[in-house]
Assembly symmetry: C2
Homo-oligomer: 191 residues x 2
């Protein structure tokens, strides 16, 4: 999701999410979004191809957050720990405004094309973290395994969090479930 940027793009995204929450995604038009942001419709289309694209407003800042967190982890940090710390920072942003995340998730989940776009976005975030790990010297396959596994845990933790109306702490779920995964991989009998 990311935080709102200053400027027209951020204002449009914020206005769009407010309207989606108030009156629903289907009933919201680009003209309404622009009006709410006190901008012209033309400005809207300079920043977004359509009202769906606004839902992926946060992808770029999420990628920046994750790669800079991986890059700036202290020397000697294990790859999986660098990935986990990066994803916890993203989770903390989600936790700042759970209602906004929930509104967005409900729209994306209800539409097959948007769910696909979401998967593409997640795959891109995994690839970006793997790149950042390789740049700090992590060899393959460790870099890709850590990044892809981190995203896999994030997906599962997010699904749990979003389905719980109490929105328990997402960074905490992520930490707990990364440990749980260590147990799952330790080949204890569980079935």
């Amino acid at each position: 999701m990311g935080r709102w940027e200053p400027g027209a793009r951020g204002r449009l995204a914020q206005a769009a999410m407010t309207l989606y929450a108030e009156q629903g995604f289907e009933r919201t038009t680009a003209a309404q979004i622009a009006a709410r942001a006190q901008l012209t419709e033309r400005t809207f289309f300079r920043h977004f191809a359509d009202k769906r694209e606004v839902l992926f407003y946060g992808t770029e800042s999420a990628r920046d957050l994750l790669t800079s967190a991986v890059t700036s982890a202290p020397a000697g940090t294990a790859p999986m720990d660098a990935v986990s710390a990066a994803l916890e920072a993203l989770a903390a942003q989600f936790q700042e405004n759970p209602e906004r995340v929930r509104v967005r998730d409900a729209i994306v989940s209800a539409n097959a094309e948007l769910r696909e776009r979401e998967l593409v976005k997640l795959a891109g975030l995994a690839a970006a973290m793997a790149d950042a790990l390789r740049e700090r010297g992590t060899p393959e396959p460790a870099a890709s395994l850590a990044a892809e596994t981190g995203i896999a845990v994030f997906k599962v933790a997010f699904a749990r969090w979003i389905s719980d109306p109490d929105r328990p702490d997402l960074p905490e779920i992520l930490r707990t479930w990364t440990d749980e995964l260590r147990g799952v991989l330790a080949q204890h009998p569980g079935a």
Copy 2:
């Protein structure tokens, strides 16, 4: 990928993959595929919406293979072991005809829309394995974590395998890298 089914659907898929390899995906038409399979174009469109869909011919049989492998793992098998065994069985099918897998992968990789469809397919396979684990009594989040992580390792192992012209044994890579992931998660310093 799966094996060819007997009957029109399997014959069409086989003819399509042969033509894609011989003359390229772009230059192949539905009419040519039907002719090669000694069937009518109308029959082709009864089985496939278009020539792209033929590339995902194997999804259903892959899902069946994975879920039945998870379901039939001996009682007491750890969830991650059940998932790994299922994915190794799928990897063994890929290894049977690496050239076919390579031709298909080259087509899918070259096209953004097909890459998206592939991600959707992989997410569906993870969900199907998680369902199968839950049915044999694995609780959440262990079921989803094992299934999603298994698919994450499969993705990384497949990318390595497909990029190596010697096509080293895919089931073996999968086994080795699941062990590698255990090391990655064991928090040893690696960067």
